[in-house]
Symmetry: C2
Subunit: 196 residues, 2 copies
Amino acid sequence: MALFAEFGVTAVSVRDVAAAAGVSSSLVTHHYATKGGLKDAADARALAALDQVFELRPGEDTAEGALASMQTSLASQLQQVPLLMPYLRRLLIDGGPAAERVFGRLLESTRHALGQWQQAGIMRRGADDDVLTAMILVNDLATILLRDQIHATLGFDPVQGAGLQRWAATALEMYRQEIFSPPADSEHDQAPRSGQ
Amino acid sequence: MALFAEFGVTAVSVRDVAAAAGVSSSLVTHHYATKGGLKDAADARALAALDQVFELRPGEDTAEGALASMQTSLASQLQQVPLLMPYLRRLLIDGGPAAERVFGRLLESTRHALGQWQQAGIMRRGADDDVLTAMILVNDLATILLRDQIHATLGFDPVQGAGLQRWAATALEMYRQEIFSPPADSEHDQAPRSGQ
DNA sequence: ACCGTGACTGCACATTTGTGCAATTCTCTG
DNA sequence: CAGAGAATTGCACAAATGTGCAGTCACGGT
């Protein structure tokens, strides 16, 4: 998974995988039959891990404490399973059925969370909620996809440690302006809104 | 460039390129010496096209009419040079010096545009403007990177025709809430802000 | 003690791929 | 029209790669 994620499937040979695992290349083909089988197994492992991640969600996204943007929750949860984040990146990049499946699932999870936030009154309704949901998800995923570029130009890693805090704070600031309710501690003047 | 963009450099052989061009593989190596030379030439061509795109910008981004989000302007300008958008996608995905260079240039262009908008008073200042600038750029690029996934799940192409209009409208709606000044035709109540 | 099953390996083979080289054809110029 | 230089090609070769096959070794159940 590490090799596939970093260099792409086609750029990695079965012998590379075998060498990284400290075994012979024959053993790899013995277990997974073909290279495609190996790729399928890696995809299945990633999808299973993602499923497990999503199982945890419904319990925690009712309170306002979970409001700290999809970026924070998604990135931190992915952090718990090493290799999953770079592999998810490669999965989305390479496209195909697995990518559509995982993207669809992420979209569904995002839709669910946003729906709860809207019902709780901490998020307003958009004019085009389907597109808005996808856009928020896409914005979050973009941080993963362009992680290296952001790191290289801004000087910090946006999905880890202090860099994540800084990036998430800006995302939160961006979303809080009317998409989410203005924060009470804002230095801007407040005004009643049509929402509630 | 089309083959590199769609399948990645390693997945495309020199013979593939030659076949697509209707010539022998020897001619390709004759002109570009090695496969790396071919890749470098393709990169140079893409970077030159991008440079040309950015030359046009300073003249038009003073008026409020140019406010229609970086997404619209970037995507529509890339549209004028076919192959550039998918190639830019592959460039950013594969990483490397060329990717850093083009990302840095895009970031500089974004910074310039946002600075002018802030000076014109149609955009407020953020708490962390460096990060906010990068985030806006990254959000726009994400539309290109995840184009296929968005298309597959939402049912329309977010970077072309009517789909672009719909996607850009949502982006504009998202950004207009306080990041840009609230539009005058908003149905929400208005309030004075500390900005100006 | 026997043996079947699975982990594991070395070897081989056909195909692909990058690259070099000699030869041929095309094109433009003096 | 002749020839120089570029365009273009066929061929070859070594390295890499996916895949198949026979065989060895460890181990748990009967």
